[in-house]
């Protein structure tokens, strides 16, 4: 965890200790809001839905702050809430018949240097969606955060070894997908 995160954790802890839960949430939003939004946006492929889930995450955290026993960091706890709400949202979307939309044809083969960022992001988004929500969550947290595997395991509610195996199994699937869609690694 970075020094900034340490400071945020300490500040939020002090606010909770003083019964100032609103101030604690404000400190946590400052520290982790963007990270959580990015994770949710990557999970859900939608900024609008990520925005909803972000709000739900902090409201739920507020409700649970008093009972939170600090067996993990606030950050791990918040990611855990966000992850669960993202999975809920994915399930709901599936029930309502929303499906992943794929490009009708793969983009033309391009090299790393020729490919513009929007194209790279488009392919990555497409390929991340081919992973199961659990696998997607593990891969995103593994590469987008500096969380340890113990913290990832706590967030994903799995053993560290299971998360490691899940990431290792998902990477070839992701690599094959991005290459098939024209991204040269």
């Amino acid at each position: 965890m970075t020094g900034q995160n340490d400071i945020a954790e300490e500040r939020a802890g002090q606010k909770v200790g003083a019964g100032k839960f609103g101030d604690a949430i404000a400190a946590l939003m400052d520290a982790y809001g963007n990270q959580l939004f990015r994770y949710c946006a990557s999970m859900l492929s939608s900024d609008e839905e990520a925005q909803d889930v972000l709000q739900i995450t902090f409201l739920q955290a507020y409700d649970g702050l008093e009972a939170f026993e600090r067996r993990s960091t606030f950050r791990t706890w918040l990611f855990s809430i966000a992850r669960n709400r993202c999975l809920d949202r994915i399930k709901t979307n599936r029930r309502h018949g929303e499906r992943v939309t794929y490009a009708e044809s793969p983009p033309e083969q391009s090299t790393e240097h020729e490919m513009t960022d929007p194209k790279v992001n488009q392919i990555l988004e497409l390929c991340l969606e081919t992973l199961s929500p659990m696998a997607r969550s593990a891969v995103l947290l593994r590469y987008q955060s500096d969380l340890t595997y113990s913290e990832l395991a706590a967030i994903l509610d799995e053993k560290p070894g299971t998360v490691q195996a899940r990431v290792a199994r998902s990477l070839p699937v992701l690599k094959r997908c991005v290459e098939e869609n024209g991204l040269t690694l």
Partner: protein, 217 residues
């Protein structure tokens, strides 16, 4: 040794790689590609951030939660009275066992057990009914007008609490239907006519579940 089968998990586990992976050209190339992929995922969506004003909206929502208006005395009294009534109703319902029924069928073909609508002569049907009423019965009809089974706790049925189960080998080709009945009153004896029996039981207020047709051929 293939990189994807051996090395990726070791890397994730933070364990040293076999020397082979450092010397094999293809492995070195694969490793580079996976590192590149990791970096791309790591920077994916880095430019996305929440809408402006998102913190204020959350704080507003929290403020609303914290400062709900106090209920007046009479409204609180009505609330308490309603709560007592709801608890009383729930208690009454919990003391009166609901009459409910659930039927499940599995087909046993040799070592294979599956759910489906077709079986072969000689296969067995594992019938399980959950009947919560004080009277229940499990039946199996062949639709050419034969009652194959009708029992509660005598063989081939076995009853444990509200669960009645039986295993029946279907030796003859034909169409079969299982029926589970749950009732607060005694259930009239079965005849060979499934439709008439179901109608009679329902007229007496029983809950009846009839299975899909199971074709044996």
């Amino acid at each position: 040794m293939r990189f994807e089968e051996e090395a990726l998990l070791l890397i994730e586990q933070g364990k040293p790689l076999d020397e082979h992976f450092d010397t094999c050209e293809d492995c070195v190339e694969q490793r580079r590609k996976y590192e590149q992929l990791g970096m791309l995922v790591g920077s994916f969506a880095a430019d996305r951030s929440p809408h402006e004003g998102w913190k204020r909206r959350i704080m507003d929502a929290l403020h609303t939660q914290q400062h709900r208006p106090q209920r007046s005395y009479w409204r609180a009294t009505i609330g308490i009275a309603a709560s007592i009534a709801i608890v009383g109703l729930a208690l009454k319902l919990s003391l009166t066992p609901p009459v409910d029924v659930d039927l499940d069928i599995e087909i046993i073909a040799g070592d294979t057990v599956y759910r489906g609508n077709s079986a072969k002569p000689g296969d067995s049907l594992q019938l399980t009914a959950v009947v919560t009423g004080s009277h229940g019965e499990l039946r199996l009809y062949r639709t050419d007008g034969r009652l194959i089974l009708a029992c509660v706790d005598e063989p081939p049925c076995a009853r444990a609490d509200d669960r009645i189960s039986a295993t029946v080998t279907v030796a003859i080709s034909g169409s079969y239907r299982a029926v589970a009945i749950s009732s607060s009153e005694p259930v009239p004896a079965a005849t060979v006519n499934l439709d008439a029996d179901v109608l009679t039981a329902r007229e007496l207020g029983a809950e009846v579940e009839v299975s899909d047709l199971i074709i044996v051929r």
